[in-house]
């Protein structure tokens, strides 16, 4: 589904290199966790994949479902099925969640040459998806993320994921700022959305999210590269030992 080869990327006008030859292969049905110390390039990876301004790919390739992802506009990547659950979801005052999602869904459907979703079907989907993350249906008609608590914002991201049904979801530190109950709700939501056709990349600092969403692979990202990959047990090892031993191992 996703093949990243030797990805190099810089940020800002100074062209500071953050990603330094990253490789990753994600197949349908898989969950990959990417862990690593602060400043390793985890969020940069998410931004580069989503196509955020300010990042420049200097080398390497990203192929998603047979297409050169880096050639696509940000919105077209979304339409192809790439979804980013934001670490800091953005507030859009005056725009209701419903209106926002309806616009998004219909843009995506148009791209796929499908008819716009009928109001009834749309509302049924809203009910189903909000129940999935135990999101108060009232929040669905409130302005996007405005006045939401930290936990509500994160649940709203997963609600949107459920609405948009992406092929590849990138969860950027979705666990940060969540209490134990919210963490369970969000994780359950993601688990229910998993199937053999979609894939999830989880970016996180901590092992605790991975107790709920069991990854097939754990990768350690350090200094812009994946320095170690392994099964889910690797996460526990990282939790126990920290990241320093990896540097020692490398040397």
């Amino acid at each position: 589904m996703l093949t990243i080869k030797n990805l190099h990327a810089t940020v800002g006008e100074e062209g500071l290199e953050i990603l330094k030859g990253l490789n990753l292969e994600v197949k349908p049905g898989e969950v990959h966790a990417i862990m690593g110390p602060n400043g390793a390039g985890k969020s940069t990876l998410a931004s580069v994949l989503a196509g955020k301004d300010g990042y420049e790919v200097t080398e390497g390739s990203v192929v998603f479902e047979g297409k050169d992802l880096l050639e696509l506009e940000t919105e077209d990547r979304a339409k192809e099925g790439v979804f980013l659950a934001f670490q800091y979801p953005v507030e859009i005052p005056g725009v209701s969640n419903i209106n926002f999602l309806k616009t998004a869904i219909n843009e995506i459907r148009e791209y796929r040459k499908q008819e716009p979703l009928k109001a009834k079907e749309f509302m049924a989907k809203v009910r189903e998806s909000s129940a999935l993350v135990e999101l108060d249906p009232k929040l669905a008609s409130r302005s996007v993320n405005e006045g939401f608590s930290g936990g509500e914002k994160k649940r709203n991201e997963i609600f949107q994921m459920a609405m948009l049904q992406p092929k590849l979801s990138i969860l950027d530190e979705t666990d940060s700022g969540l209490d134990i109950d919210a963490l369970r709700i969000v994780s359950d939501g993601v688990n229910k959305l998993r199937n053999e056709n979609n894939a999830v990349i989880i970016i996180t600092h901590y092992q605790r999210l991975l107790d709920h969403i069991i990854p097939d692979f754990v990768h350690v990202l350090a200094d812009g590269k994946i320095v170690k990959s392994g099964p889910k047990e690797l996460a526990l090892e990282l939790e126990e030992k920290g990241y320093d031993w990896l540097n020692a191992e490398k040397v």
Partner: protein
């Protein structure tokens, strides 16, 4: 009443001789320039009563002594008042008995304004009085309004048919010497709309007028007078568009609203006149005086969505004369490229327990400048007056400017005045968030801006709100920088 084509043809022959017009001209048009003679010409052309001509001449005398205001935060080349044509009527100036009689070409023009009036009439029961180059060409739903005693017609027609009402109310809210442009309008206005709602009547439909400037180099001096008798209600919509023009066109309208005891007037405007090109060439100068008077328990609500014109100078205001009266001002002003807008309101609290609300949303893009200028004035007798003002500015580019000039004058200690103001820049984060959900930049800006303006757009009648939303999106295309 009004002209028949024969009369018009006859008139044309005579004037052609009288004013030395040379050859076949497409519209019935006065020579450029302003003089007492021209004013007499306009008045005669419109077969006006003597008192109206006298008013015009008085205004003209006053105007000659006045100078153009310079306090607004706008810069432009002053119009040359002798190069403007003060009277121009479309070739086809015959009145239509029914909508079906209207020239198909004219209908097409209206369709280009983005809204099918036929559709509007059928679906929404909206009566439309369409003003094209100063002369009303279509009036509908008149019958139904007639049954209720509601008068909704062109200003010229009102002068002929209801001179007593026009004489009684015209100039009572905006005196002819009020300001430079109001004086000019009072001297040379050609047409406009008149609306009268009898006592206790609730007007069952939105009354709507589409203004349009059509002739190059033609000044537009519209005059609108709305009188709501005691306990009556009316919602009035004014929409404006103008085709592309190279030279600047001056528009100096006067709108007067009179809400008698317990009456309510809602006045909504969507204005998208030609704003000039990307380099700031051309565009309409919109110098408008709009003011309403509230008697006891009356309410006047102004809602405006201003996206057009090269230069805007406009302050729809309320004089809260009667006790317990209410004034509201909801405004969205968008400027892009080199547009300049200086707009806001004046809330004059004279009566006791008077209330006013001001919600202003400015959006500046490109190299434009957008200013809010507002006055809240509480007079000595205005016990327990209340005002709430909120002025928000949204910047879409680094090269645009947002300015706020609030004035508060309070002469009564019991007054409560609140003022909130914010300035923000449209977030790249917001746009990225939308794009990541599959919404392209243009649509994203539309969503964000419409969300930002929601409080104001919610005040508009449904059909108008939809049009206004589209207009905001069009006005801000490719504007993030």
């Amino acid at each position: 009443m009004g002209y028949t084509e024969e009369e018009l043809a006859k008139d044309l022959e005579n004037q052609e001789y009288k004013f030395g017009f040379t050859s076949n001209f497409e519209s019935d048009k006065a020579p450029n320039g302003l003089s007492e003679e021209i004013i007499r010409f306009i008045s005669a052309k419109k077969e006006e009563p003597a008192w109206l001509l006298a008013k015009r001449l008085q205004a003209y005398e006053a105007w000659k002594e006045m100078t153009e205001p310079e306090w607004a935060h706008v810069h432009y080349d002053k119009p040359s008042f002798q190069d403007i044509c003060y009277y121009s009527a479309p070739k086809q100036s015959k009145k239509y008995e029914s909508w079906d009689d209207v020239d198909p070409e004219m209908k097409e023009t209206m369709a280009k304004l983005g809204i099918s009036l036929e559709e509007q009439q059928r679906l929404t029961g909206t009566a439309v009085d369409f003003v094209m180059d100063s002369v009303s060409v279509a009036t509908s739903f008149k019958k139904k309004l007639n049954e209720l005693g509601i008068i909704f017609c062109s200003f010229s027609e009102a002068v002929q048919e209801h001179p007593e009402l026009v004489e009684k109310y015209m100039g009572t809210v905006v005196p002819s010497k009020d300001n430079f442009y109001a004086a000019l309008n009072s001297a040379v206005f050609t047409d406009g709309s008149f609306c009268y709602i009898p006592k206790g009547v609730r007007c069952p439909m939105e009354l709507s007028t589409y203004f349009r400037i059509n002739e190059g180099g033609t000044g537009q001096f519209e005059r609108t007078l709305v009188v709501a008798e005691k306990g009556s209600y009316v919602s009035y919509l004014e929409g404006c568009t103008a085709p592309m023009r190279d030279e600047n066109q001056l528009h100096a309208a006067v709108v007067e609203l009179i809400a008698l005891d317990d009456a309510e007037i809602k006045y909504s405007t969507v204005q998208n006149w030609y704003p000039g090109d990307k380099n700031g060439k051309g565009g309409v100068y919109n110098f408008v005086t709009k003011r309403g008077l509230c008697e006891r328990n009356a309410k006047i609500s102004w809602t405006q969505v201003e996206t057009g014109s090269a230069v805007t100078w406009k302050y729809p205001s309320c004089i809260l004369k009667g006790d317990n009266s209410t004034g509201e001002f909801y405004s969205v002003a968008v400027t892009n490229n080199y547009q300049q807008a200086d707009t806001g309101t004046k809330m004059i609290h004279l009566g006791k327990n008077t209330k006013s609300t001001i919600i202003s949303k400015g959006i500046s893009a490109g190299h434009s400048h957008n200013s809010y200028r507002g006055l809240v004035q509480i007079h000595g007798n205005a016990e327990n007056a209340r005002n709430f003002s909120q002025c928000d500015s949204l910047l879409m580019s680094d090269t645009s400017g947002a300015h706020t000039f609030p004035y508060i004058e309070c002469k009564n200690n019991s007054a409560k005045i609140e003022h909130e103001a914010t300035t923000s820049k449209i977030g790249e984060d917001q746009i990225f968030y939308c794009k990541q959900r599959g919404i392209n930049e243009e649509k994203a800006i539309g969503l964000i801006v419409n969300g930002y303006c929601k409080e104001v757009l919610n005040q508009l009648p449904m059909e108008f709100a939809v049009e206004a939303q589209k207009l905001l999106e069009i006005s801000l295309e490719n504007s993030v920088g």
